[in-house]
Symmetry: C2
Subunit: 436 residues, 2 copies
């Protein structure tokens, strides 16, 4: 006999057992329904692509983390590390087959060889949605509204979406003559929530070498107590009137749609060194802000500029599914189930397996999810399995029942028992209970 | 400016544009519903695993095709090339967390560096479903019934599932003293449909070096005109009474469930060199048998024997999704759609974007999928996009309409026009049309 191989998976990777996978599947199904209701359509791209395509724009950090190798045909290939770069390549490659504005969602795995740590995996799922080909308030608003609706479909309504306008911030820095220092400034501004006003102020003074300019930046990113007041300050300081007008229209849309309370204008949101040029946003769970943003994104100028001459602007967002699931678990908001079954047909007598299977077929054809316990194991064992699967009803059919085409139906939760009933009667009881 | 990178994907890989991806998603959703109604639950495993785990049992052919490399931590890793080996590893690793019998489905991508050719890709989707932990007629039947139901959910009902019993064939070969030649015999028997009876007969005579034995094998694999007659011949020739009894019980289940006409007992089905030990089966589209089996599998003795001492028997099947989709396309059975939208709110006037967005929100909250065309492009252009997306209704709202909170609803297919209606009235018209 061969020696056994120890069954094990790679560090940073995970198996999904049924409970976890059902939970993830239900979540993805709900998100999918919302994406579709907004007119977003799915696409898919290969997991493996030419490294040249995936890594051209990446920084050194990404390059170190990517799973990259030479395939059997000596091609330099890599596993995708996000869904944005493949989308850019996709848009450039298929631009003549797509119609603009083009709205896609993509829920799929990506891989990064990061140091594994709590909540960080080397294989994880991303959920991206973008609209490209329209630089308008309508497009901006649609993404923001979709973010709120997508999370609401998961019963996550106690959220704050903190948004700002990166383009406006850029104009502001230009106006005060600090455009050349924007990298350092962005990095510092990003830390406001973490290190507080005073420290940020000190750092900014260092960077700007000018107390007044540092104060001005601080005044810009601190905002005021309402969306409108904050916007007024931002506009005054930056003179970015076009951008302010865009934000004002978006705000009107929020108010007209009754979703304005979820959104806060927070000019300290800049999305750091990312490639955004318009609105930017991050989403926090009000009961659990510490886990960070669960849905972020923004507007970018030139999605596919690496791969084609035409410029296509877009706006998009990404849900961090793993982080969101972790958050929902902490909040006790995770709903899962052991199976999708309504009925377990217990096996009292293997001689009746033919009748049990025929009964299962009848139940399923009337829309009831049913399975037959395939062997006459001890009843206790059969009940345990039904319980683990979260099944509501059990059917017990003995030989004398089978001859009369009746059986006993048992509500496994309430222990209520219906003896000598027909399949039609059982179906109506089960349906009634499903509607409750 | 950087030089542009030619956007392109690797040979043998594919992008899925919305039409194709929607089609695939709808197919997977339907299959998923059926799996769930039989009590099967989903799992997921990593795309990357230790090569030792994935390749231990593989033949040289698989090893040549697999995407294998050394990761940044110098681990010898490979991308999964099927869903069976990871499932075996999964069962061994998690056996204490699972309850038996355990029924799982797994619909996911796998990778093989095969020579790309028509209909063959290096990245493709598999759809596996297995029940492990019960060696019973009930379990065998459940998989067979599920195969039929799964295909029926895709509107594929004109099928024949050709089945046999590999264990019975093995017993037969042992009885006639040819067990040591079973590899050659299996390879030959497999060719019956392709090269015909005479050639198979000649080859078998060569292998067996015995005319009588060759005739006997031929008689075994040829069968007769009915399930029962064929089974009688198989039993007589093999004396495999246990196996015959199992087949007879399965047949009774088929008859009692009214699905017997789909199944043919065809002893030439052996699934070649695979590891099956019980029933085996292949599924053919009656209108297109030439594309080969679209759903195959069988019972195996020892799923996870490489990874653990316990023996777990199972029965399972795999749908070749790509082949099936290709077949459905040829048969004109593919249903797809450009989007899931019910309504396009056309943009007549960008000044009304706020009203358009509020209207879209109202429609969506009443269960109607709606989007706003984000810019006041030429109407012709807006209509073309709506048509490409397969949208049934358009909404036209002018400034004077908006003030009165009414608009014009247009059925884009029938050109029927409803002027000056409210959102409630529009919703009821759209719902009525969806129900048709």
């Amino acid at each position: 006999m061969d020696t056994l191989i120890q069954p094990r998976i790679l560090k940073g990777f995970r198996d999904y057992l049924p409970d976890a996978e059902i939970q993830r599947a239900l979540l993805v199904e709900k998100l999918t329904q919302v994406f579709r209701s907004y007119g977003f359509v799915p696409i898919d791209t290969p997991v493996l692509e030419y490294s040249e395509i995936l890594l051209r724009k990446s920084d050194g950090e990404t390059e170190k983390q990517v799973f990259r190798f030479e395939d059997n045909g000596r091609r330099d290939v890599a596993m995708r590390f996000d869904l944005t770069v493949p989308f850019a390549r996709f848009v450039a490659e298929h631009k003549d087959e797509l119609y603009l504005p083009f709205k896609r969602y993509h829920i799929a795995k990506v891989w990064r060889g990061e140091k594994p740590q709590a909540g960080r995996y080397r294989e994880f799922m991303q959920c991206d949605f973008d609209m490209v080909g329209s630089d308008s308030a309508s497009a901006d608003f649609e993404i923001l509204s979709l973010m709120k609706s997508a999370l609401a479909s998961l019963d996550v309504t106690d959220i704050t979406i903190r948004m700002s306008h990166r383009g406006m911030f850029n104009v502001f820095l230009e106006k005060i003559g600090l455009k050349n220092k924007s990298e350092d400034i962005l990095r510092t501004v990003d830390k406001l929530a973490k290190i507080g006003k005073e420290e940020v102020s000190a750092l900014l003074t260092d960077i700007a070498s000018d107390q007044a300019k540092a104060s001005s930046i601080l005044r810009f990113i601190e905002g005021a107590s309402t969306f409108e007041e904050t916007l007024t300050i931002m506009e005054e300081l930056s003179s970015a009137h076009e951008e302010a007008k865009r934000l004002r229209t978006i705000r009107s849309m929020m108010c007209a749609s009754g979703i304005d309370k979820t959104f806060v204008l927070d000019p300290s949101i800049t999305r750091g060194l990312d490639y955004y040029t318009g609105i930017v946003y991050e989403t926090f769970l009000n009961e659990l802000p510490s886990i960070g943003s669960v849905c972020s994104g923004g507007r970018y100028d030139n999605l596919a500029g690496l791969y084609m001459k035409e410029t296509i602007s877009g706006v998009g967002s990404s849900i961090g599914l793993d982080r969101l699931i972790a958050g929902l678990e902490q909040l006790g908001k995770i709903k899962t189930r052991g199976s999708f079954l309504d009925v377990e047909i217990f096996c009292l007598d293997e001689e009746l397996s033919v009748e049990y299977q025929a009964l299962a077929e009848t139940l399923r054809s009337s829309g009831i999810a049913a399975e037959v316990f395939p062997e006459a194991k001890k009843m206790n064992q059969q009940y345990v399995v039904a319980e683990k699967k979260g099944i509501s009803f059990g059917i017990l059919m003995k030989k004398e029942d089978a001859e009369k085409k009746v059986f006993t139906l048992k509500n496994l939760a309430t222990r209520e028992v219906f003896e000598g009933i027909t399949v039609e009667k059982a179906a109506s009881i089960i349906f009634a209970s499903k509607k409750e």
